[in-house]
């Protein structure tokens, strides 16, 4: 009973660690170079009905997949897809191994696909959580390093030899606000007439978070700091109004109506796990003759990104 409870606790820990990365995959990638014994090797670069031909025992290498993973990514699976069939009377098979150093060293998985009948079919070696017996660094999948070696057992035809890499992108929780200083400029009587001056958009906020998040904003003080010849008018922070005027994918619950800025945090938006999620904030300052006397005004405020 005690052991079972301990295992449950570790299971929870692993779950939370796993959430710290965002899953991704490259999609099926075409090779762009090949070498070896197959006939018409380049015809297996893409699935187009034309094919390379392999005789029994022949070996061929495909490479140049142009795989590039985000920095800091963890490779969690590699798949090799063959669109293939047999080329003569015997059902054929293909074995496949991978190299990470330009063909000097190879995996030793013993993976293969087949037997392949006379009809074209897709065969996949590896999997979304199969790293072929080793830990891969992202640059080991780049051109010049990563290769796919195929050996034919009996005659085979290959229409396509594609590769798909599954990875987990490590995301640090970051928040950037550009520009941090919003200069609303010099006001005119036309702004008094309108009752406000607006900058739209005023700031672009970019969020990266490994988990769901919320963004709040609050004034650092209840009133604007005033510098000028008049008695400080005590212009309230709520005269700076903000709203989310645009946002990209992954943003939810954004506050799109103008809201006065107060020292109490107010939710700007929420979002899902992701990197470089963005939203634009418009700002406007409310003007009146009582609280907006000649001088210079400054108000500091703070965005806080929280991932509960």
């Amino acid at each position: 009973m005690t052991m079972n409870r301990t295992r449950q606790l570790f299971g929870l820990v692993l779950l939370f660690v796993g959430l710290a990365g965002l899953a991704g995959e490259t999609g099926w990638r075409d090779p762009s170079a090949d070498a070896g014994q197959f006939k018409n090797g380049p015809l297996a670069y893409r699935r187009d009905g034309r094919y390379a031909t392999a005789s029994h025992g022949e070996e061929h290498i495909y490479e140049g997949y142009g795989i590039s993973l985000p920095g800091g990514s963890e490779v969690v699976g590699i798949e090799v897809l063959f669109t293939a069939r047999k080329n003569d009377s015997s059902n054929s098979s293909l074995t496949v191994e991978l190299s990470w150093d330009g063909g000097v060293t190879w995996t030793a998985t013993g993976y293969g696909v087949g037997p392949m009948p006379a009809s074209w079919r897709d065969y996949v070696a590896g999997g979304s959580s199969d790293t072929w017996g080793r830990t891969w660094a992202p640059d080991e999948l780049g051109d010049g390093a990563f290769q796919v070696r195929i050996r034919a057992i009996h005659g085979s035809r290959l229409d396509w030899v594609a590769v798909r890499v599954h990875y987990r992108e490590e995301i640090a929780q970051t928040l950037t606000v550009i520009p941090p200083l919003v200069d609303l400029g010099t006001l005119t009587l036309a702004h008094y007439d309108a009752g406000h001056k607006e900058i739209s958009p005023a700031q672009r906020v970019t969020v990266s978070s490994p988990t769901a998040w919320s963004l709040v904003v609050a004034a650092d003080a209840a009133t604007w700091t005033y510098t000028g010849p008049e008695a400080p008018p005590g212009k309230p922070s709520s005269h700076l109004e903000w709203r989310v005027s645009a946002s990209g994918p992954g943003i939810t619950d954004s506050q799109t109506n103008y809201t006065g800025l107060t020292t109490t945090p107010h939710t700007v938006a929420r979002g899902m796990a992701g990197s470089d999620l963005w939203l634009e904030v418009s700002l406007r300052v409310q003007l009146d003759y009582d609280t907006t006397v000649p001088g210079t005004y400054e108000l500091r405020f703070t965005y806080t990104l929280t991932a509960p």
Binding site: T2, M3, R5, T6, L9, F10, L12, V13, F16, V17, A20, Q173, T174, L175, T176, V177, P180, L181, V182, D183, L184, G185, T186, L187, T188, L189, Y192, D193, K197, Q203, V205, S209, T211, D220, G228, E230, L240, L283, V285, Y289, D290, T292, V293, P294, G295, T296, Y297, E298, L299, R300, F301, T302, Y303, T304, L305, T306, A307, P308
Partner: protein, 169 residues
């Protein structure tokens, strides 16, 4: 053995809290703007026309035009409004003094702290019409009176220019 298992469980809990605890980052911003002294003066009409005077006007010694000119003021500082004749005399049949044009200010706007509400002769020196606190669309109304006499004012066309000046010191 039992003690060891409990220790492992507590370590796991500690790691769980460390990873799953609330993560928070902040980013400061500043908004700023500058307000210069801003004033605006608007007149409902730039011409005050007394029309053609009559014998009754001569007998009375003057003709009044009430609310002949509306004045609107916008200022984000306390302000002062003055008026002055462009010349010491009217143009016309004779050198009629500008002081024969009299004015007074009428207002109920609470932002007007003081105003000249008795008829005052227009001079070429600036005379304060009103003063007030900051605000927008502050309203004044100007009454005018022209003095006439059988002895001094022969028939003819008379005109005198005058200028308001709004100041927010």
């Amino acid at each position: 053995m039992k003690v060891r298992m409990v220790t492992v469980g507590m370590l796991a809990l500690g790691l769980l809290v460390g990873v799953a605890g609330m993560a928070q980052v902040t980013q400061g911003s500043t908004a700023q703007f500058t307000v210069p002294t801003l004033i605006r003066l608007s007149l409902s009409t730039s011409t005050v026309n007394f029309g053609t005077l009559t014998e009754d006007d001569y007998d009375r010694g003057y003709k009044d035009l009430d609310a002949a000119q509306g004045i609107q003021i916008w200022s984000n500082k306390n302000w002062t409004l003055t008026v002055a004749a462009d010349a010491a005399t009217w143009t016309g049949p004779w050198a009629k003094p500008s002081t024969d044009l009299m004015w007074r200010a009428v207002t109920t706007d609470g932002r007007v702290a003081s105003s000249v509400n008795t008829f005052t002769g227009l001079t070429s020196g600036a005379t304060q019409v009103a003063a007030g606190t900051r605000g927008g669309n502050i309203q004044l109304s100007m009454d005018f009176r022209v003095l006439v006499s059988w002895e001094n004012d022969p028939a003819g066309d008379y005109s005198v220019g005058f200028t308001y000046t709004l100041t927010a010191p």
